[in-house]
């Protein structure tokens, strides 16, 4: 690329260049996603790969998801109770816990944790494969690395994260029940009853799930793309891993705002 001249024109040129770079990399990522997913291999040998990836991405993320879900539910109940008790409506704590977990905290916190644990691991793993020339090795054998390495990881992420988000919410609600009902003495029936009368399956639960699916898509896509396109050095891999966590966290929070405005904005 030709060098930039100084002055106003130079700055404008820089701006243009970075815009073109951003759009080009977005385009690359989109092409990469399409190439990995279109005509993806069916069951058989590849199913084994998928199972293995779900194990690494999903099952191994369970401990952090369960523990944070439990504690976040407990914190929500404690804080909610302390505020609601001053309005003599501590019974509504179940509603507070369930709605905030289902609508926001479940998908968002799971997404952030997922990006931190599974996403960074995916980037590092794929980056490492690239650095040790395993990806080009596969190509030499006539195996498409997009289908063999990338696609199972992408699909595993898409499947695992909504499941993790659902588990997170359920554990959180039980944690909230533990604090509110067992420790703070909210009546059991009103905790669950208020929750049931305010939570609607088609609205709150399903919209939360949709958020989980969207965040899964974005977080896995960023992780895998960063790994695949990183510089094949140890510095490059570490940079890509950092980028994965930063980009996916920002994307999740930004998308969360847009989705919330679309889903719950009009009430």
């Amino acid at each position: 690329m030709e060098s930039t001249s100084k002055g106003l024109l130079g700055r404008i040129q820089l701006l243009g260049r970075s815009a073109i770079d951003i759009i080009a990399s977005l385009g690359n990522a989109a092409i990469f996603l399409a190439m990995s997913l279109i005509g993806r291999p069916g069951p058989g040998k590849h199913f084994q790969l998928l199972v293995k990836q779900i194990y690494f991405v999903g099952v191994l993320s369970l401990p952090i998801i369960v523990v944070s879900g439990l504690f976040i539910g407990m914190i929500m109940a404690l804080q909610g109770y302390n505020i609601l008790i001053s309005y003599a409506s501590a019974e509504a704590v179940g509603q507070v816990v369930a709605l905030s977990l289902l609508r926001e905290l479940g998908p968002v916190v799971t997404g952030l944790l997922f990006a931190g644990r599974a996403g960074s691991a995916l980037t590092a793993e794929i980056g490492n494969m690239k650095a040790s020339e395993q990806l080009s090795g596969l190509e030499t054998f006539g195996v498409d690395p997009l289908k063999y390495v990338i696609a199972p990881r992408l699909i595993a992420g898409f499947i695992s994260m909504p499941l993790l988000a659902t588990i997170f919410v359920v554990v959180g609600i039980w944690g909230g029940a533990m604090v509110a009902v067992d420790w703070l003495g909210v009546f059991d029936g009103s905790y669950w009853g208020n929750m049931q009368s305010s939570v609607r399956f088609g609205y709150d639960v399903c919209n939360g799930l949709i958020k989980g699916v969207v965040f899964a898509f974005v977080a896995t896509w960023i992780a895998v793309y960063q790994g695949y396109s990183c510089e094949a050095t140890s510095v490059g891999i570490s940079r890509a891993t950092t980028k994965t966590v930063v980009y996916s966290s920002l994307a999740i929070l930004g998308l969360d705002f847009i989705l919330t405005a679309l889903m719950f904005g009009e009430i």
């Binding site: 084994q48 199972v51 293995k52 779900i54 194990y55 999903g58 099952v59 369970l62 309005y87 409506s89 369930a98 289902l102 499947i159 695992s160 909504p162 499941l163 993790l164 659902t166 588990i167 919410v169 359920v170 609600i173 669950w192 929750m195 049931q196 009368s197 939570v199 609607r200 399956f201 709150d204 639960v205 799930l209």
Partner: protein, 180 residues
């Protein structure tokens, strides 16, 4: 880890996710399969003031939930708020001349629509219009009336309070020991 154990763990994970979703559906959102009763029917009611009433607010009779508010809109000809109520199908015995009243649950609670029983034999059905309504209680109006004394009853109450106060003072004056 061998393949079998791996697959079993993944299977358990997926199962846990599905189980969690089922729990959310039934325990948390109280989803019931199919409609209980015979569906529902809609009636409309016109109110002078529906301040605080929301779509999805509950409709209750004798404190039992029998339906919900499905729409609140302006009825331009009547200069009133048109409220559409969806009542459960099995509530098919409310007389047509029942009064729809907007209540407040507790002092600060949510607004909901309640019914006061009428006496007619004809019952409310799909498309019925409730003629007798009682609007939401606007606390500010009441306080205004009382403070400004624009209402005679307010003046009356104020006068009585004054008399009571005077009597008490008199009482204390004649019996100094009464305060002990």
């Amino acid at each position: 880890m061998n393949n079998r154990a791996l697959e079993i763990t993944v299977g358990l994970f997926v199962l846990a996710g599905i189980l969690a979703l089922a729990l959310l559906a039934f325990r948390v959102s109280g989803l019931t399969l199919g409609d209980t009763g015979q569906g529902s029917y809609k009636v409309t009611a016109y109110f002078d003031n529906v301040d605080g009433l929301k779509v999805r607010s509950r409709v209750a009779f004798a404190g039992v939930t029998i339906g919900k508010v499905t729409a609140i809109e302006m009825a331009p000809k009547q200069y009133q708020a048109k409220v559409t109520l969806e009542l459960n199908g099995d509530v098919n015995y409310l007389p047509e001349d029942s009064t729809a009243i907007i209540y407040t649950a507790g002092l600060l609670g949510e607004k909901y629509v309640g019914f006061s029983l009428g006496g007619e034999e004809e019952v409310l059905k799909e498309g019925s219009v409730i003629k007798d309504t009682q609007s939401t209680l606007v606390l500010e109006d009441l306080i205004n009336k009382f403070v400004m004394g624009s209402d005679d009853s307010g003046k009356e109450v104020a006068k009585q309070l004054q008399t009571m106060n005077d009597t008490l003072k008199e009482l204390v004056k004649t019996n100094p020991n009464i305060t002990n």
